[in-house]
């Protein structure tokens, strides 16, 4: 049996609600700080990735320019290269 009167119980609830509200506010502030640091981090990562990508693109382009003539020549040489051979399972028909 509770000694607390109904009125007192209401008081208890309203005081508790105030404390809870304060706690929530502080947690919200904590979370916001966390988010802010996170966005900062994402941007930094993006910038560094973009830089790396640009550098690699440069490299790829340079490699291509350096080697493409050689490869085109290789291709064209092999187009005309022909070695006629009899199928390996056949034998020459002796007249």
């Amino acid at each position: 049996m509770s000694v607390l009167s109904v009125l007192r119980l209401k008081d208890a609830r309203s005081e508790a609600a105030k404390e809870i509200e304060e706690y929530k506010k502080s947690k919200e502030a904590e979370f916001k700080a966390f988010e802010a640091s996170h966005t900062g981090n994402t941007q930094a990562v993006q910038a560094s990735i973009d830089k790396e990508t640009a550098a690699k693109q440069q490299e790829i382009r340079a490699q291509y320019e350096a080697n493409k003539d050689k490869v085109v020549k290789k291709l064209l040489d092999r187009v005309v290269l022909v070695k006629p051979e009899l199928h390996r399972n056949l034998n020459k028909v002796e007249a």
Binding site: Y23, Q57, Q63, K68, L76, L86, V93
Partner: protein, 227 residues
């Protein structure tokens, strides 16, 4: 207690003493109750607050986890996008290279000596693949003479290599727009062998891709096994 009956003063005094005693008892009891009530108040309040705090903590923990996961996803998406960009660039370079090659094959038909030699080789290769007694050799209109010469040499070579003979007829049916080469069709018109320069280049483009990629961009650092 006196055995004789009390006089008025004594009665009054006793009553006052009783009143005072009852009052005292009552006050103490009241204080007890108040203390108990305050305690219960405090406990009830603390219980409510703690409950809610736990709920709030759980909520924010979930939020935080969600934010972390989202960050990881974002990062992964960025690296993936970057990789795709690079791969796309390589593909564009490859296509550029192939179109350059395609434009250049016209030149291969210009050197007459080499071209006739090429034609002969390619026709023998065709004969050896078809292994048919009757073959129609389709050539470009302007190549008909050269192909005629090549066919004679090719038929001889075919006989040397395989011991078989072939009856070849030349037709100038291919358009003059293509780069060069021949198409061979078996006598029964069931088998076609495309040995034109364009087709050969196309096949090469496809088959040489690993080699081309290694030549253009260097060997793959991630590859661990080579037969």
């Amino acid at each position: 207690m006196a055995s004789r009956p009390l006089n008025d003063d004594e009665v009054l005094s006793e009553m006052n003493k009783m009143v005072a005693f009852i009052k005292q008892e009552a006050l103490e009891k009241a204080r007890e109750i108040k203390v108990k009530a305050d305690e219960e108040f405090a406990i009830e309040k603390a219980k409510l607050v703690k409950q809610e705090q736990q709920a709030i903590d759980a909520q924010y923990e979930k939020k935080r986890k969600g934010a972390e996961v989202a960050q990881k996803i974002a990062q992964s998406t960025l690296t993936n996008k970057s990789r795709l960009k690079l791969l796309q660039q390589r593909e564009e370079h490859l296509q550029d290279l192939f179109s350059t090659a395609r434009e250049s094959i016209d030149a291969l038909a210009k050197d007459e000596g080499r071209y006739v030699q090429f034609l002969e080789g390619v026709i023998v290769q065709g004969f050896l693949s078809l292994l048919e007694p009757d073959v129609t050799v389709h050539a470009r209109e302007k190549d008909v003479d050269k192909v005629q010469r090549a066919v004679e040499g090719a038929a001889r070579q075919y006989n040397e290599i395989s011991g078989l003979t072939v009856n070849a007829t030349v037709q100038g049916t291919l358009s003059n727009d293509i780069a060069g080469g021949v198409k061979l069709v078996s006598g029964t018109e069931r088998i076609t062998l495309d040995n034109t320069l364009d087709e050969r280049l196309r096949l090469l483009e496809d088959r040489m891709l690993p080699e081309i990629r290694a030549d253009l961009f260097g060997p793959n650092p991630n590859r661990k096994f080579y037969t």
